[in-house]
Every structure is written in C-alpha cells, then in structure tokens.
Amino acid sequence: MTDAVNTDRWIRWLNLVQLVLAGVIIMTPTVWMVLSSFKPSFEVTAYPPTLIFTPTLDNYVELTKTTPFLSYALNSLIVTVGSTALGLLFGIPAAFVVSWTRISWPAILTLAARMAPGTLFLLPWYVMFRQVGMIGSYTALILSHAVITLPIVIWVLLPSFDAIPRSVFEAAQVDGCGVTRILWRIALPLVASGIAVSAILAFVFSWNYFLFALVLSNGDTKTLIAAAFNFIGEGSTQWGALMAAATLIALPPLVLAALVQRWLVSGLTLGAVKG
C-alpha cells in the first residue's frame, strides 16, 4: 500500500519536472528576446551574454527615430483590420448558408486555397494587380490577406452555426421570417462568441502573414512583418533595435491570443478537435 503511494508521488514529481523543463524550453527564447530589447547597446552583443543589466528604453527610442516603425505599424493595422472585416463580412453569411443547406463546396474551396502555397496565387496576382496599377495599394493588400481570413471565419463559425437546433429556425420560418432575418436576428446573437474567436484568429493570422506584403506592398504601404526584413538588413550589430522591433511586432497577436486562449484550441484546429 505505502509502496503504491510512494510510486504515485514519485510519478507526480517526475511529471512536474518534465512540465517545468518543457515550460523553460518554450519560454526561454521569448524571454531572451524581450530582455535583449531592454539592454544597453554595448551589452546586447556582450560575450559571454549578460543576464544582469540596467534596463533601458534606448532601443525602442532608436527604433522609432531611425526607422518609420510607427507608419509600418499603421499599415499593418489597416491591412489586418481591413482583411478581418472583409473576412467577417463575406464569411459569416457564407458559413450560415453552408451550415443550413449542407452544400459544403464553398467552404472546402476556401480551405483548399488555405492549403496551397501562397506563391501560387501571388504570381497571377502580381501580374493582374500590376496591369491595373494596384501594386502597393492597401486594396490589393487587404484583398490578398482576406484569402487568409475568409477560411478562418467560415471554418470557426461552421460548428457554432451547426450547434443551433434546427427547431429554432423552423419556428422562425413558420412565423414568416426570411433567411436573412433569421441570420441577422436569431442566429447572429447565438454565435456571438464564435464570431469573436474567429475575428481574433483572423486578426492574428493576417497580422502574422509575411509573403503577400513582401511583393504587393511598396515603401508607403509596407506592413511591419514585411519591413522586419529591412530591420535585419540594417546591420547585424543592431541587435537591441532588432529585438525591440521583434518584441513590438509579436505583442498584438500574443496579447489577443492570451485573452481568448480557452476558446482558441478548437478554432485553431479548424474543428478537428473539440476543445
């Protein structure tokens, strides 16, 4: 009996040790990035690396002074908010119709597009947008990023719409409610939390997306992610400013994800797992 209790306790300890080890491996690089961003310039590249230092905001000040960081951030915000809004505007009614009619090809087509390598679309887009003089425009960037957001919205919302009992809709139909009114008045309030999760996931993945802005933006419309490339190019010894940029770029998605982490899991796996 005591043997069993001892083994049990021992296993629990072993489990805790593994948990802490995994946590340390996962967290250390991020912590190192944030720490480096607050180091004085001579200490960022110190070897051996230092752990104790007087924190300073110099790197952040330098970043905003020497690069148009804030206008890049504004570009990112415009493209991300625009493409998330477009994804919701097109995706919510589409998900509702797919859930209602069980005609799933529009949903599957958007998912297939999500799986194809981005360069596949980028080549024809580049040729097309260049012909109409839209390279470098916010419109082109928002449209391209909506290809990321639309399938996220549709696939996160599908299970939410599916979960509404059919009888609710049928009762409304008997009362003479049209489909659009049912969506607007009855279904939307019921899937409000699903819409919030889909909007946040769409925002995060649009914010994080690199490839399209790399080609479709210009100096005035460059997003933070596409500009990150320039920060690296500006001299490998500017590690402090580089890490300050990395920290600031990662902040919005991390904060948003932390706010809704409990509901994120099922959304992230496109319904593969009931979280």
Binding site: M27, M33, A94, P117, L120, V147, F210, L242, L268, V273
Partner: protein, 295 residues
C-alpha cells in the same frame, strides 16, 4: 393556393441563400479560382527579356525535369518536412501526455504554451537569428559552458536545415500538443480503468491502448503540420533566404525567387503548380492513413 404560396416562399428562400453566399463565392472565384487557372496558363508561357510572351507548350515542365536546382529544392523540402514532422509529433505527443497527467491546467500555463505559434514566424526567425549567432549568440555560449563544441547553426550548409527544423519545432510542437491533448481528453476513461484493473503497466497501457486510440488525432495533427512544412517559407526567407549557398533553398523559396527575383513568371508558375500538387498529394495520402487507423 397555399401550394403556390409555399413555392413562392421556397423560391424566395433560395434567392436569399444565393444572395448571402454570393460575396464569398464571387471573392473566392476572383481571388483563388481564376488566378489558379491563370497560373496554369502562365505555366505554358515563356517570357522573353523584353517582356514579350509566347506559347511554350510543356517547355517549363521539361525544364523542371532537367533543373538540378529543382531536384535539390525537392530534396531540401522533403528533408525539412520529415525531420520537422517527426520532431513535432514525438515531442508533441510526449508533452500532451505530461500535460494530461497534470490534470488542471491554469489559463496562464495554457497561454504560455500557445505563445510560440501565435507569434509571427518572422519574429521567431528574428529571435533565433540572434540566439544562434555563431560568434556572439547565447546558444553557443551555453554549449561551450557545458563543454560541448559550438555550432555554426544557420551559417553552416550542413546544419542549416536541422537548425531551421529545430526553430519550427520550437514554434509548432505546442500546437501538436494542444491537438493531441484534445484527443486524450475525449478518450473514454473506462478504457484506462479496465487496463488498471488488469494490472497493466503505464508503458503497456500507453503502447496497447492510448497510442492506437490516439492515432487518428495524431494523423490529423500531421496533416495540419504537413501543409505548412511542405511550403516552408517565412523562417528561411527571414534568416538565410535559401542560403548559405543554396543549402536551404526549399521549393517554395526557389519558386518565389524564380518568380520575383529573376521574373521568370512562366517557369515559376510550373514550379508552384508542382509544389501545390505535392502538398495536396500529401494531404490525400494522410487522409487515407487516417481512414485506416480510425476506430
């Protein structure tokens, strides 16, 4: 009378459905279906240095077969795919088991675990570039303090692919963990109880009961990761741009450079269509595997 009214409502209902789904369908056709058809057409074209285009038949595809850089890119893509997928599945399942036995998981811990894959891959690349710097990076300092030889990491043609696989695995193993954890939590507890009564050891229980029951979930995770791994781009482009030399020139990086650095749109189209076929082939193969291990 009431029949006509019913048909009228039904027609109206169909019309409303069409109107509601129209924006998404039109957008998808304009931004995805039409461009893909256009890419297929571009794949049969060749562009001269003056920008004049002409029909090239299968020339872009025959060029593919004799292009050493294509086969190198395919090899790099597959090596990176296999290495990363194995790392992420093995460590993902291990971590899921650890978390599963920790029972109650505070929200803050969950937030920490999802933080790597919620940050942009570009940022992951930037941070690891600094940590793995061959001369001043913290990673080599740690290695040397442990009495191990330092590595050139991404500056070494030999180690660049394993290093990129490590970075991607740091970022996405927690994602596999969350999927597998969901699978573990949905398994019926009665199975474990029966195994316990039979006196099965922890390892036997895992090998004979948990793992087979988890296989469909693990294959699902493999599908979701494969799609990203086969078209690997962000971390490599931000850190090495395919280098040193061409040591990390994956097919996606190669196709991008052919298209947007050398502006050979026709050949780049053929390259990207080939890569797309590889991605969908892998998804279909894994899907069949999932069918085979379903219970």
């Amino acid at each position: 009378m009431s029949d006509t009214a019913a048909t009228l409502t039904q027609d109206r209902q169909k019309l409303e459905m069409a109107a509601l789904s129209a924006p998404a369908v039109i957008f998808t056709v304009a931004m995805i279906a039409f461009p893909v058809v256009y890419t297929i057409w571009l794949g049969f074209q060749t562009f001269s240095s003056t920008g004049k285009q002409s029909f090239a038949g299968l020339a872009n595809y025959t060029k593919l077969i004799s292009d050493v850089e294509f086969w190198h890119g395919l090899w790099i893509t597959i090596a990176l795919f296999v290495l990363s997928l194995v790392l992420q599945l093995v460590f993902g399942v291990w971590l899921a088991l650890v978390l599963f036995h920790a029972k109650r998981l505070p929200g803050i811990v969950r937030s920490l675990f999802i933080s790597p894959f919620m940050m942009p891959p570009v940022v992951a690349g930037m941070m690891w570039l600094v940590i793995l710097d061959p001369s001043l990076g913290a990673a080599n300092y740690i290695l040397q303090s442990l009495g191990l030889p330092p590595s050139d990491w991404m500056a070494s043609p030999t180690w660049v692919i394993p290093t990129v696989a490590l970075i991607d695995s740091w970022q996405w193993t927690p994602y596999v963990t969350l999927i597998v954890l969901g699978g573990l939590q949905s398994l019926p507890p009665s199975v474990y109880e029966a195994a316990q009564i039979d006196g099965a050891s922890a390892f036997k229980t895992f090998q004979r009961i948990t793992l087979p029951l988890l296989l469909p979930t693990i294959v699902t995770a493999a599908i979701l990761r494969s799609v990203d791994l086969l078209r690997f781009f962000d971390i490599i482009y931000i850190t090495t741009q395919g280098g040193p030399g061409n040591a990390s020139n994956t097919l996606n990086i190669y196709g991008f450079r052919v298209g947007f650095e050398f502006f050979n749109i026709g050949y780049a189209s053929a390259l990207m269509l080939t890569l797309t076929a590889i991605v969908f082939g892998a998804v279909l193969a894994f899907n069949r595997l999932r069918g085979a291990v379903a219970w």
